[in-house]
Protein backbone atom coordinates (compact mmCIF):
# COMPACT_ATOMS: atom_id res chain seq x y z
CA UNK A 1 0.00 0.00 0.00
CA UNK A 2 0.90 3.60 -0.42
CA UNK A 3 3.25 2.58 -3.15
CA UNK A 4 6.01 1.68 -0.77
CA UNK A 5 5.20 -1.89 -0.06
CA UNK A 6 7.14 -4.70 -1.56
CA UNK A 7 6.20 -5.59 -5.08
CA UNK A 8 6.81 -9.09 -6.17
CA UNK A 9 7.15 -8.78 -9.88
CA UNK A 10 5.57 -11.17 -12.25
CA UNK A 11 8.02 -11.65 -15.04
CA UNK A 12 6.51 -14.76 -16.54
CA UNK A 13 5.57 -14.07 -20.12
CA UNK A 14 2.26 -15.88 -19.94
CA UNK A 15 0.37 -12.67 -20.60
CA UNK A 16 -0.67 -12.78 -24.22
CA UNK A 17 -0.92 -9.28 -25.58
CA UNK A 18 -3.58 -9.80 -28.17
CA UNK A 19 -4.36 -6.21 -28.94
CA UNK A 20 -3.45 -5.30 -32.51
CA UNK A 21 0.16 -4.25 -33.02
CA UNK A 22 -0.64 -0.67 -34.02
CA UNK A 23 -2.65 -0.26 -30.83
CA UNK A 24 0.15 -1.57 -28.62
CA UNK A 25 2.69 0.68 -30.34
CA UNK A 26 0.34 3.61 -29.87
CA UNK A 27 -0.07 3.00 -26.14
CA UNK A 28 3.65 2.40 -25.59
CA UNK A 29 4.56 5.59 -27.48
CA UNK A 30 2.00 7.50 -25.48
CA UNK A 31 3.60 6.25 -22.26
CA UNK A 32 7.05 7.24 -23.46
CA UNK A 33 5.78 10.69 -24.44
CA UNK A 34 4.19 11.27 -21.04
CA UNK A 35 7.24 9.95 -19.21
CA UNK A 36 9.43 12.25 -21.29
CA UNK A 37 7.36 15.35 -20.62
CA UNK A 38 6.58 14.71 -16.96
CA UNK A 39 9.71 12.97 -15.71
CA UNK A 40 12.67 12.52 -18.05
CA UNK A 41 13.03 16.02 -19.52
CA UNK A 42 12.72 17.67 -16.06
CA UNK A 43 15.43 15.28 -14.87
CA UNK A 44 17.76 16.21 -17.71
CA UNK A 45 16.96 19.88 -17.23
CA UNK A 46 18.27 19.83 -13.64
CA UNK A 47 21.71 18.71 -14.79
CA UNK A 48 21.80 20.97 -17.85
CA UNK A 49 21.14 23.98 -15.63
CA UNK A 50 23.45 22.82 -12.83
CA UNK A 51 26.37 22.44 -15.23
CA UNK A 52 25.56 25.50 -17.35
CA UNK A 53 28.75 27.14 -16.05
CA UNK A 54 30.76 23.96 -16.46
CA UNK A 55 31.96 21.57 -13.82
CA UNK A 56 34.03 24.21 -12.01
CA UNK A 57 31.01 26.50 -11.84
CA UNK A 58 28.95 23.68 -10.36
CA UNK A 59 31.71 22.91 -7.86
CA UNK A 60 32.02 26.57 -6.92
CA UNK A 61 28.30 26.96 -6.39
CA UNK A 62 28.26 23.97 -4.11
CA UNK A 63 31.39 24.24 -2.03
CA UNK A 64 32.56 27.85 -2.18
CA UNK A 65 29.28 29.19 -0.88
CA UNK A 66 29.42 29.16 2.92
CA UNK A 67 25.63 29.06 3.32
CA UNK A 68 25.20 26.21 0.88
CA UNK A 69 28.02 24.35 2.60
CA UNK A 70 26.27 24.81 5.92
CA UNK A 71 22.99 23.53 4.48
CA UNK A 72 24.74 20.34 3.33
CA UNK A 73 26.23 19.95 6.79
CA UNK A 74 22.87 20.53 8.50
CA UNK A 75 21.12 18.03 6.23
CA UNK A 76 23.79 15.48 7.09
CA UNK A 77 22.91 15.91 10.78
CA UNK A 78 19.13 16.24 10.66
CA UNK A 79 18.36 13.43 8.21
CA UNK A 80 20.39 10.63 9.85
CA UNK A 81 19.02 11.55 13.29
CA UNK A 82 15.41 11.45 12.11
CA UNK A 83 15.97 8.24 10.14
CA UNK A 84 17.73 6.56 13.06
CA UNK A 85 14.94 7.27 15.56
CA UNK A 86 12.22 6.25 13.11
CA UNK A 87 14.09 3.06 12.23
CA UNK A 88 14.57 1.91 15.82
CA UNK A 89 11.04 2.82 16.82
CA UNK A 90 9.63 1.50 13.54
CA UNK A 91 11.21 -1.91 14.11
CA UNK A 92 9.88 -1.95 17.70
CA UNK A 93 6.42 -1.01 16.46
CA UNK A 94 6.45 -3.64 13.69
CA UNK A 95 7.54 -6.32 16.19
CA UNK A 96 4.87 -5.35 18.73
CA UNK A 97 2.09 -5.05 16.18
CA UNK A 98 2.79 -8.25 14.24
CA UNK A 99 3.89 -10.68 16.95
CA UNK A 100 1.21 -9.91 19.53
CA UNK A 101 -2.51 -9.36 19.60
CA UNK A 102 -3.76 -6.82 22.10
CA UNK A 103 -6.56 -4.30 22.45
CA UNK A 104 -5.74 -1.08 20.62
CA UNK A 105 -3.56 -2.81 18.06
CA UNK A 106 -5.66 -1.69 15.09
CA UNK A 107 -5.74 1.82 16.47
CA UNK A 108 -1.94 2.00 16.59
CA UNK A 109 -1.75 0.52 13.09
CA UNK A 110 -4.03 3.29 11.80
CA UNK A 111 -2.07 5.94 13.71
CA UNK A 112 1.07 4.88 11.84
CA UNK A 113 -0.63 5.90 8.59
CA UNK A 114 -1.83 9.24 9.89
CA UNK A 115 1.20 11.34 8.85
CA UNK A 116 0.31 10.55 5.22
CA UNK A 117 -2.92 12.46 5.73
CA UNK A 118 -1.38 15.49 7.42
CA UNK A 119 -0.12 18.30 5.21
CA UNK A 120 3.56 18.94 6.03
CA UNK A 121 2.68 22.57 6.72
CA UNK A 122 0.09 21.47 9.28
CA UNK A 123 2.69 19.15 10.82
CA UNK A 124 5.06 22.08 11.17
CA UNK A 125 2.26 24.19 12.64
CA UNK A 126 1.63 21.56 15.34
CA UNK A 127 5.23 21.74 16.50
CA UNK A 128 5.15 25.53 16.46
CA UNK A 129 2.01 25.46 18.64
CA UNK A 130 3.76 23.16 21.10
CA UNK A 131 7.27 24.53 21.26
CA UNK A 132 7.38 28.19 20.24
CA UNK A 133 8.97 30.21 23.02
CA UNK A 134 6.22 32.84 23.38
CA UNK A 135 2.85 31.12 23.35
CA UNK A 136 3.76 27.45 22.97
CA UNK A 137 2.27 24.87 25.31
CA UNK A 138 5.77 23.87 26.39
CA UNK A 139 7.17 27.41 26.36
CA UNK A 140 7.52 27.74 30.17
CA UNK A 141 9.43 24.48 30.37
CA UNK A 142 11.68 25.30 27.41
CA UNK A 143 12.37 28.81 28.69
CA UNK A 144 13.35 27.54 32.13
CA UNK A 145 15.70 25.04 30.51
CA UNK A 146 17.01 27.57 28.01
CA UNK A 147 16.35 25.13 25.17
CA UNK A 148 15.19 26.10 21.72
CA UNK A 149 13.27 23.74 19.43
CA UNK A 150 11.46 25.99 17.00
CA UNK A 151 13.77 28.04 14.76
CA UNK A 152 16.58 25.63 15.69
CA UNK A 153 17.88 22.23 14.61
CA UNK A 154 15.87 20.12 17.10
CA UNK A 155 12.70 21.44 15.48
CA UNK A 156 14.03 20.46 12.06
CA UNK A 157 14.66 16.92 13.32
CA UNK A 158 11.19 16.64 14.88
CA UNK A 159 9.42 17.97 11.78
CA UNK A 160 11.40 15.59 9.58
CA UNK A 161 10.61 12.70 11.93
CA UNK A 162 6.91 13.42 11.85
CA UNK A 163 6.57 13.16 8.08
CA UNK A 164 8.70 10.00 7.91
CA UNK A 165 7.02 8.07 10.78
CA UNK A 166 5.24 5.53 8.54
CA UNK A 167 8.04 4.46 6.22
CA UNK A 168 10.01 1.81 8.14
CA UNK A 169 7.08 0.38 10.12
CA UNK A 170 4.77 0.30 7.09
CA UNK A 171 7.37 -1.60 5.10
CA UNK A 172 8.06 -4.15 7.84
CA UNK A 173 4.53 -4.94 9.01
CA UNK A 174 3.29 -6.73 5.85
CA UNK A 175 6.64 -8.48 5.46
CA UNK A 176 6.68 -9.77 9.05
CA UNK A 177 3.05 -10.82 8.78
CA UNK A 178 3.86 -12.81 5.66
CA UNK A 179 6.89 -14.43 7.27
CA UNK A 180 4.92 -15.53 10.34
CA UNK A 181 6.63 -16.31 13.64
CA UNK A 182 7.43 -20.03 13.37
CA UNK A 183 11.15 -19.48 13.39
CA UNK A 184 11.07 -17.17 16.38
CA UNK A 185 8.88 -19.62 18.30
CA UNK A 186 11.29 -22.41 17.53
CA UNK A 187 14.15 -20.25 18.80
CA UNK A 188 12.24 -19.54 22.04
CA UNK A 189 11.63 -23.22 22.60
CA UNK A 190 15.33 -23.88 22.14
CA UNK A 191 16.11 -21.34 24.84
CA UNK A 192 17.34 -18.37 22.79
CA UNK A 193 17.53 -15.01 24.55
CA UNK A 194 15.45 -12.09 23.21
CA UNK A 195 18.51 -10.48 21.63
CA UNK A 196 19.60 -13.73 20.04
CA UNK A 197 16.12 -14.16 18.55
CA UNK A 198 16.15 -10.68 17.09
CA UNK A 199 19.70 -10.61 15.76
CA UNK A 200 19.98 -14.21 14.59
CA UNK A 201 16.43 -15.09 13.52
CA UNK A 202 14.28 -12.05 12.79
CA UNK A 203 16.82 -9.58 11.44
CA UNK A 204 18.29 -11.91 8.80
CA UNK A 205 14.75 -12.53 7.53
CA UNK A 206 13.70 -8.91 7.35
CA UNK A 207 17.02 -7.24 6.52
CA UNK A 208 16.25 -6.39 2.88
CA UNK A 209 12.80 -5.11 3.68
CA UNK A 210 14.22 -3.08 6.54
CA UNK A 211 16.89 -1.57 4.32
CA UNK A 212 14.22 -0.80 1.74
CA UNK A 213 12.17 1.05 4.35
CA UNK A 214 15.21 2.94 5.62
CA UNK A 215 16.13 4.06 2.13
CA UNK A 216 12.64 5.37 1.44
CA UNK A 217 12.53 7.05 4.83
CA UNK A 218 15.88 8.62 4.03
CA UNK A 219 14.76 9.88 0.61
CA UNK A 220 11.65 11.46 2.08
CA UNK A 221 13.62 12.98 4.95
CA UNK A 222 16.13 14.59 2.58
CA UNK A 223 13.37 16.01 0.43
CA UNK A 224 11.09 17.22 3.22
CA UNK A 225 10.18 20.83 2.64
CA UNK A 226 6.86 22.09 4.05
CA UNK A 227 7.20 20.93 7.65
CA UNK A 228 10.83 22.00 7.87
CA UNK A 229 10.05 25.33 6.20
CA UNK A 230 7.54 26.17 8.92
CA UNK A 231 9.69 25.31 11.94
CA UNK A 232 12.99 26.59 10.58
CA UNK A 233 12.31 30.33 10.70
CA UNK A 234 14.93 30.39 7.95
CA UNK A 235 17.94 31.72 9.74
CA UNK A 236 21.09 31.97 7.60
CA UNK A 237 23.74 29.40 8.50
CA UNK A 238 21.53 27.97 11.19
CA UNK A 239 18.32 26.41 9.95
CA UNK A 240 18.63 25.99 6.18
CA UNK A 241 18.55 22.38 5.01
CA UNK A 242 19.46 21.63 1.39
CA UNK A 243 15.83 21.57 0.25
CA UNK A 244 15.24 24.97 1.87
CA UNK A 245 18.48 26.28 0.37
CA UNK A 246 17.20 25.45 -3.13
CA UNK A 247 14.23 27.71 -2.53
CA UNK A 248 16.30 30.49 -0.97
CA UNK A 249 18.74 30.60 -3.90
CA UNK A 250 15.80 30.56 -6.30
CA UNK A 251 14.23 33.55 -4.51
CA UNK A 252 17.61 35.33 -4.70
CA UNK A 253 17.65 34.81 -8.50
CA UNK A 254 20.77 32.66 -8.13
CA UNK A 255 19.68 30.00 -10.60
CA UNK A 256 23.03 28.23 -11.07
CA UNK A 257 23.43 27.98 -7.29
CA UNK A 258 19.89 26.71 -6.86
CA UNK A 259 20.30 24.08 -9.58
CA UNK A 260 23.68 22.99 -8.21
CA UNK A 261 22.05 22.08 -4.88
CA UNK A 262 19.05 20.60 -6.73
CA UNK A 263 21.38 18.42 -8.81
CA UNK A 264 22.85 16.87 -5.67
CA UNK A 265 19.35 16.19 -4.34
CA UNK A 266 18.40 14.68 -7.71
CA UNK A 267 21.44 12.41 -7.68
CA UNK A 268 20.38 11.19 -4.24
CA UNK A 269 16.87 10.52 -5.55
CA UNK A 270 18.28 8.59 -8.52
CA UNK A 271 20.48 6.46 -6.29
CA UNK A 272 17.41 5.77 -4.16
CA UNK A 273 15.66 4.42 -7.25
CA UNK A 274 18.59 2.21 -8.17
CA UNK A 275 18.91 0.82 -4.64
CA UNK A 276 15.17 0.25 -4.59
CA UNK A 277 15.30 -1.92 -7.72
CA UNK A 278 18.13 -3.99 -6.26
CA UNK A 279 16.38 -4.40 -2.92
CA UNK A 280 13.02 -5.28 -4.43
CA UNK A 281 14.68 -8.25 -6.06
CA UNK A 282 16.35 -9.23 -2.79
CA UNK A 283 13.05 -9.02 -0.88
CA UNK A 284 11.18 -10.99 -3.53
CA UNK A 285 13.90 -13.65 -3.47
CA UNK A 286 13.90 -13.94 0.31
CA UNK A 287 10.11 -14.15 0.42
CA UNK A 288 10.12 -16.86 -2.22
CA UNK A 289 12.76 -18.74 -0.26
CA UNK A 290 10.76 -18.59 2.95
CA UNK A 291 7.54 -19.66 1.26
CA UNK A 292 9.17 -22.64 -0.45
CA UNK A 293 10.59 -23.91 2.82
Amino acid sequence: MHGNSVRTQKTAGKMVANEPLWFRVLLISLCYLIALVLIIVPLIYVFVQAFSEGFSGWWNNLFNDAETRHSVFLTLIVVPLAVLVNTVCGVAAAWTLTKFKFPGRTLLMTALDLPFAVSPVVAGLMFVLLYNLRTGYFAPLLNSMGFKIIFAWPGLVMATMFVTIPFVARELIPLMQALGDDEELAAVSLGASPWQIFWRVTLPNIKWGLLFGVIQCNARAIGEFGAVYVVSGRIERETYTMALRVEKLFQDYNNPGSYAVASVLTLMALSTLVLKIILERMVAASMEQSSSE
Binding site: G3, I39, V46, A123, L125, M126, V128, V188
Partner: protein
Protein backbone atom coordinates in the same frame (compact mmCIF):
# COMPACT_ATOMS: atom_id res chain seq x y z
CA UNK B 1 -1.17 -7.68 2.98
CA UNK B 2 -1.32 -11.36 2.21
CA UNK B 3 -0.78 -12.78 5.65
CA UNK B 4 0.44 -16.34 5.36
CA UNK B 5 -0.40 -17.22 8.95
CA UNK B 6 0.95 -20.54 10.20
CA UNK B 7 -1.92 -22.94 10.46
CA UNK B 8 -2.01 -24.08 14.09
CA UNK B 9 -1.29 -27.71 14.68
CA UNK B 10 0.28 -28.32 11.30
CA UNK B 11 3.67 -26.68 11.34
CA UNK B 12 6.23 -27.06 14.08
CA UNK B 13 5.69 -23.45 15.13
CA UNK B 14 1.93 -23.83 15.21
CA UNK B 15 2.20 -26.84 17.50
CA UNK B 16 4.70 -25.08 19.72
CA UNK B 17 2.47 -22.04 19.89
CA UNK B 18 -0.44 -24.13 21.07
CA UNK B 19 1.74 -25.92 23.59
CA UNK B 20 3.48 -22.94 25.02
CA UNK B 21 0.77 -20.33 24.92
CA UNK B 22 -2.85 -19.62 25.43
CA UNK B 23 -4.97 -18.40 22.58
CA UNK B 24 -3.84 -14.81 22.18
CA UNK B 25 -0.66 -14.57 24.18
CA UNK B 26 2.49 -15.31 22.31
CA UNK B 27 5.51 -16.81 24.05
CA UNK B 28 7.74 -14.42 22.16
CA UNK B 29 9.62 -11.86 24.24
CA UNK B 30 9.58 -8.11 23.88
CA UNK B 31 5.90 -7.27 24.20
CA UNK B 32 6.35 -4.89 27.14
CA UNK B 33 9.40 -2.94 25.90
CA UNK B 34 8.10 -2.95 22.33
CA UNK B 35 4.76 -1.52 23.39
CA UNK B 36 6.42 1.12 25.58
CA UNK B 37 8.70 2.26 22.74
CA UNK B 38 5.86 2.28 20.20
CA UNK B 39 3.47 4.22 22.39
CA UNK B 40 6.04 6.76 23.60
CA UNK B 41 7.25 7.33 20.04
CA UNK B 42 3.77 7.90 18.68
CA UNK B 43 2.75 9.96 21.70
CA UNK B 44 5.62 12.42 21.47
CA UNK B 45 5.72 12.62 17.69
CA UNK B 46 2.07 12.25 16.74
CA UNK B 47 -0.57 12.27 19.49
CA UNK B 48 0.67 15.26 21.50
CA UNK B 49 1.07 17.43 18.36
CA UNK B 50 -2.43 16.45 17.20
CA UNK B 51 -3.88 17.21 20.61
CA UNK B 52 -2.12 20.60 20.57
CA UNK B 53 -3.77 21.39 17.24
CA UNK B 54 -7.21 20.45 18.49
CA UNK B 55 -6.71 22.23 21.82
CA UNK B 56 -5.69 25.39 20.02
CA UNK B 57 -8.70 25.28 17.73
CA UNK B 58 -11.11 24.73 20.64
CA UNK B 59 -9.72 27.83 22.36
CA UNK B 60 -11.65 29.75 19.72
CA UNK B 61 -15.38 30.34 20.07
CA UNK B 62 -17.43 28.77 17.24
CA UNK B 63 -17.97 32.24 15.76
CA UNK B 64 -14.26 33.02 15.84
CA UNK B 65 -13.45 29.63 14.37
CA UNK B 66 -15.88 30.19 11.54
CA UNK B 67 -14.55 33.69 10.90
CA UNK B 68 -11.03 32.31 10.58
CA UNK B 69 -11.69 29.03 8.82
CA UNK B 70 -14.46 30.20 6.52
CA UNK B 71 -13.38 33.68 5.47
CA UNK B 72 -13.64 34.59 1.82
CA UNK B 73 -9.90 34.23 1.41
CA UNK B 74 -9.88 30.83 3.12
CA UNK B 75 -12.77 29.60 0.98
CA UNK B 76 -10.95 30.64 -2.18
CA UNK B 77 -7.91 28.74 -0.94
CA UNK B 78 -9.90 25.57 -0.21
CA UNK B 79 -11.59 25.71 -3.60
CA UNK B 80 -8.22 25.95 -5.32
CA UNK B 81 -6.57 23.30 -3.13
CA UNK B 82 -9.36 20.72 -3.32
CA UNK B 83 -10.10 21.54 -6.98
CA UNK B 84 -6.51 21.31 -8.17
CA UNK B 85 -5.90 18.13 -6.15
CA UNK B 86 -9.08 16.53 -7.54
CA UNK B 87 -8.32 17.42 -11.18
CA UNK B 88 -4.74 16.23 -10.84
CA UNK B 89 -5.89 12.98 -9.21
CA UNK B 90 -8.38 12.32 -12.03
CA UNK B 91 -5.66 12.86 -14.64
CA UNK B 92 -3.37 10.60 -12.60
CA UNK B 93 -5.98 7.84 -12.62
CA UNK B 94 -6.09 7.93 -16.42
CA UNK B 95 -2.33 8.21 -16.91
CA UNK B 96 -1.64 5.72 -14.12
CA UNK B 97 -3.93 3.11 -15.65
CA UNK B 98 -2.21 3.61 -19.01
CA UNK B 99 1.26 3.20 -17.45
CA UNK B 100 0.29 0.16 -15.39
CA UNK B 101 -1.40 -1.41 -18.41
CA UNK B 102 1.59 -0.92 -20.70
CA UNK B 103 4.16 -1.99 -18.10
CA UNK B 104 2.28 -5.11 -17.03
CA UNK B 105 0.94 -6.41 -20.33
CA UNK B 106 3.41 -5.45 -23.02
CA UNK B 107 7.04 -6.39 -23.53
CA UNK B 108 9.09 -3.71 -25.24
CA UNK B 109 12.54 -2.14 -25.08
CA UNK B 110 12.93 0.16 -22.08
CA UNK B 111 10.05 -1.36 -20.16
CA UNK B 112 12.04 -1.80 -16.97
CA UNK B 113 13.43 1.71 -17.24
CA UNK B 114 9.89 3.04 -17.56
CA UNK B 115 8.79 0.92 -14.62
CA UNK B 116 11.63 2.27 -12.47
CA UNK B 117 11.34 5.91 -13.45
CA UNK B 118 7.67 6.05 -12.44
CA UNK B 119 8.91 6.05 -8.83
CA UNK B 120 10.94 9.23 -9.29
CA UNK B 121 8.22 11.55 -7.93
CA UNK B 122 8.36 9.55 -4.68
CA UNK B 123 12.11 9.98 -4.35
CA UNK B 124 12.68 13.45 -5.77
CA UNK B 125 12.53 16.32 -3.25
CA UNK B 126 9.43 18.37 -4.05
CA UNK B 127 11.48 21.57 -4.05
CA UNK B 128 13.45 20.22 -7.01
CA UNK B 129 10.25 19.32 -8.85
CA UNK B 130 8.89 22.81 -8.25
CA UNK B 131 12.13 24.46 -9.32
CA UNK B 132 12.26 22.58 -12.63
CA UNK B 133 8.56 22.85 -13.45
CA UNK B 134 8.66 26.59 -12.79
CA UNK B 135 11.31 27.17 -15.44
CA UNK B 136 10.34 24.61 -18.09
CA UNK B 137 7.00 26.27 -18.79
CA UNK B 138 7.87 29.98 -18.74
CA UNK B 139 7.92 31.92 -22.02
CA UNK B 140 11.52 31.11 -22.90
CA UNK B 141 11.58 27.69 -21.21
CA UNK B 142 12.03 24.38 -23.02
CA UNK B 143 8.29 23.67 -23.15
CA UNK B 144 7.03 27.22 -22.64
CA UNK B 145 8.47 28.50 -25.93
CA UNK B 146 5.97 26.26 -27.74
CA UNK B 147 3.10 26.38 -25.26
CA UNK B 148 2.96 30.03 -24.20
CA UNK B 149 2.30 31.28 -27.79
CA UNK B 150 -0.64 28.86 -27.84
CA UNK B 151 -1.95 30.49 -24.68
CA UNK B 152 -0.99 27.62 -22.39
CA UNK B 153 0.63 29.02 -19.27
CA UNK B 154 2.27 26.07 -17.54
CA UNK B 155 4.03 28.20 -14.96
CA UNK B 156 2.77 30.80 -12.48
CA UNK B 157 -0.85 29.87 -13.08
CA UNK B 158 -3.48 27.56 -11.66
CA UNK B 159 -2.67 25.13 -14.44
CA UNK B 160 0.90 25.04 -13.11
CA UNK B 161 -0.37 23.83 -9.73
CA UNK B 162 -2.35 21.03 -11.37
CA UNK B 163 0.62 20.11 -13.55
CA UNK B 164 3.04 19.66 -10.66
CA UNK B 165 0.41 17.73 -8.67
CA UNK B 166 -0.05 15.36 -11.63
CA UNK B 167 3.69 14.68 -11.50
CA UNK B 168 3.62 14.03 -7.73
CA UNK B 169 0.53 11.80 -7.76
CA UNK B 170 1.31 9.59 -10.76
CA UNK B 171 3.23 6.82 -8.92
CA UNK B 172 0.44 6.38 -6.37
CA UNK B 173 -1.98 5.25 -9.06
CA UNK B 174 0.54 3.19 -11.04
CA UNK B 175 1.72 1.34 -7.93
CA UNK B 176 -1.78 0.51 -6.70
CA UNK B 177 -3.12 -0.63 -10.08
CA UNK B 178 -0.03 -2.55 -11.18
CA UNK B 179 -0.23 -5.51 -8.74
CA UNK B 180 -3.94 -5.99 -9.40
CA UNK B 181 -3.52 -5.85 -13.16
CA UNK B 182 -0.69 -8.38 -13.12
CA UNK B 183 -2.73 -10.76 -10.96
CA UNK B 184 -5.61 -10.84 -13.44
CA UNK B 185 -5.88 -14.25 -15.03
CA UNK B 186 -5.91 -14.44 -18.79
CA UNK B 187 -8.64 -17.07 -18.90
CA UNK B 188 -11.39 -14.61 -17.94
CA UNK B 189 -10.51 -12.52 -20.96
CA UNK B 190 -10.36 -15.61 -23.15
CA UNK B 191 -13.78 -16.62 -21.88
CA UNK B 192 -15.11 -13.15 -22.67
CA UNK B 193 -13.59 -13.33 -26.15
CA UNK B 194 -14.95 -16.81 -26.82
CA UNK B 195 -18.42 -15.55 -25.92
CA UNK B 196 -18.06 -12.97 -28.64
CA UNK B 197 -17.00 -9.88 -26.69
CA UNK B 198 -14.89 -7.34 -28.52
CA UNK B 199 -11.58 -6.16 -27.01
CA UNK B 200 -13.27 -2.96 -25.95
CA UNK B 201 -16.17 -4.80 -24.33
CA UNK B 202 -13.74 -7.08 -22.53
CA UNK B 203 -11.88 -4.04 -21.27
CA UNK B 204 -14.88 -2.06 -20.07
CA UNK B 205 -16.97 -4.96 -18.77
CA UNK B 206 -14.35 -7.41 -17.47
CA UNK B 207 -11.00 -5.75 -16.81
CA UNK B 208 -12.06 -2.27 -15.73
CA UNK B 209 -14.51 -3.45 -13.04
CA UNK B 210 -11.82 -5.60 -11.44
CA UNK B 211 -9.22 -2.81 -11.31
CA UNK B 212 -11.78 -0.22 -10.26
CA UNK B 213 -11.07 -0.58 -6.50
CA UNK B 214 -7.38 0.05 -7.13
CA UNK B 215 -8.25 3.10 -9.22
CA UNK B 216 -10.33 4.50 -6.35
CA UNK B 217 -7.50 3.87 -3.89
CA UNK B 218 -4.97 5.42 -6.25
CA UNK B 219 -7.22 8.41 -6.73
CA UNK B 220 -7.62 8.88 -2.98
CA UNK B 221 -3.86 8.60 -2.35
CA UNK B 222 -2.98 11.05 -5.11
CA UNK B 223 -5.73 13.39 -3.93
CA UNK B 224 -4.57 13.31 -0.29
CA UNK B 225 -1.01 13.97 -1.45
CA UNK B 226 -2.18 16.91 -3.52
CA UNK B 227 -4.17 18.47 -0.68
CA UNK B 228 -1.14 18.81 1.54
CA UNK B 229 1.49 19.70 -1.03
CA UNK B 230 3.44 22.87 -0.40
CA UNK B 231 7.11 22.52 -1.35
CA UNK B 232 6.68 22.40 -5.10
CA UNK B 233 3.72 24.74 -5.37
CA UNK B 234 5.45 27.76 -3.88
CA UNK B 235 7.81 27.57 -6.86
CA UNK B 236 5.22 27.27 -9.61
CA UNK B 237 2.43 29.48 -8.30
CA UNK B 238 2.20 33.24 -8.01
CA UNK B 239 0.71 32.77 -4.52
CA UNK B 240 -1.74 35.68 -4.76
CA UNK B 241 -4.57 35.62 -2.18
CA UNK B 242 -8.01 34.84 -3.66
CA UNK B 243 -6.40 33.82 -6.95
CA UNK B 244 -3.54 31.40 -6.69
CA UNK B 245 -3.12 30.80 -2.98
CA UNK B 246 -3.48 27.20 -1.78
CA UNK B 247 -4.63 26.37 1.75
CA UNK B 248 -1.21 25.26 3.12
CA UNK B 249 0.17 28.58 1.88
CA UNK B 250 -2.55 30.51 3.69
CA UNK B 251 -1.77 28.57 6.87
CA UNK B 252 1.86 29.52 6.55
CA UNK B 253 0.95 33.15 5.92
CA UNK B 254 -1.22 33.31 9.08
CA UNK B 255 1.50 31.54 11.05
CA UNK B 256 4.20 33.92 9.94
CA UNK B 257 2.16 36.90 11.11
CA UNK B 258 1.65 35.15 14.48
CA UNK B 259 -2.07 34.55 13.96
CA UNK B 260 -1.72 31.05 15.36
CA UNK B 261 -5.43 30.55 16.09
CA UNK B 262 -6.42 31.45 12.56
CA UNK B 263 -3.73 29.21 11.13
CA UNK B 264 -4.98 26.38 13.33
CA UNK B 265 -8.60 26.80 12.27
CA UNK B 266 -7.66 26.53 8.58
CA UNK B 267 -5.38 23.60 9.36
CA UNK B 268 -8.26 21.76 11.03
CA UNK B 269 -10.41 22.10 7.90
CA UNK B 270 -7.58 20.88 5.69
CA UNK B 271 -6.84 18.01 8.08
CA UNK B 272 -10.52 17.02 8.15
CA UNK B 273 -10.44 16.85 4.35
CA UNK B 274 -7.41 14.62 4.20
CA UNK B 275 -8.44 12.38 7.10
CA UNK B 276 -11.78 11.80 5.41
CA UNK B 277 -9.84 10.75 2.34
CA UNK B 278 -7.68 8.41 4.41
CA UNK B 279 -10.72 6.86 6.06
CA UNK B 280 -12.23 6.38 2.64
CA UNK B 281 -9.08 4.49 1.58
CA UNK B 282 -9.22 2.26 4.64
CA UNK B 283 -12.89 1.54 4.08
CA UNK B 284 -12.18 0.63 0.45
CA UNK B 285 -9.33 -1.65 1.46
CA UNK B 286 -11.46 -3.38 4.07
CA UNK B 287 -14.20 -3.86 1.51
CA UNK B 288 -11.75 -5.22 -1.06
CA UNK B 289 -10.38 -7.71 1.44
CA UNK B 290 -13.89 -8.91 2.14
CA UNK B 291 -14.61 -9.43 -1.54
CA UNK B 292 -11.25 -11.02 -2.18
CA UNK B 293 -12.18 -13.99 -0.02
Amino acid sequence: MSAAKPSPGRSLGGTLRQLVSGKHRSPLPGFGPGLVVTISWLTVMLFVPLIALIAKSTSLTPAEFLAAAWSERARAAYTLTFGAAAIAAVVDVILGLLFAWVIVRYRFPGRQMLDAIVDLPFALPTAVAGLVYSSLYVKNGWFGQFLVPLGIEGAYSRFAIVLVLIFLGLPFVVRTVQPLLSSLEGDIEEAAASLGASRWQTFTRVILPSVMPALYTGFALAFARGLGEYGSIIFVSTNIPYKSEIAPMLIYDRLESYHYEEATAIAVVLLAGSITTLMFINWLEARNRRYAR
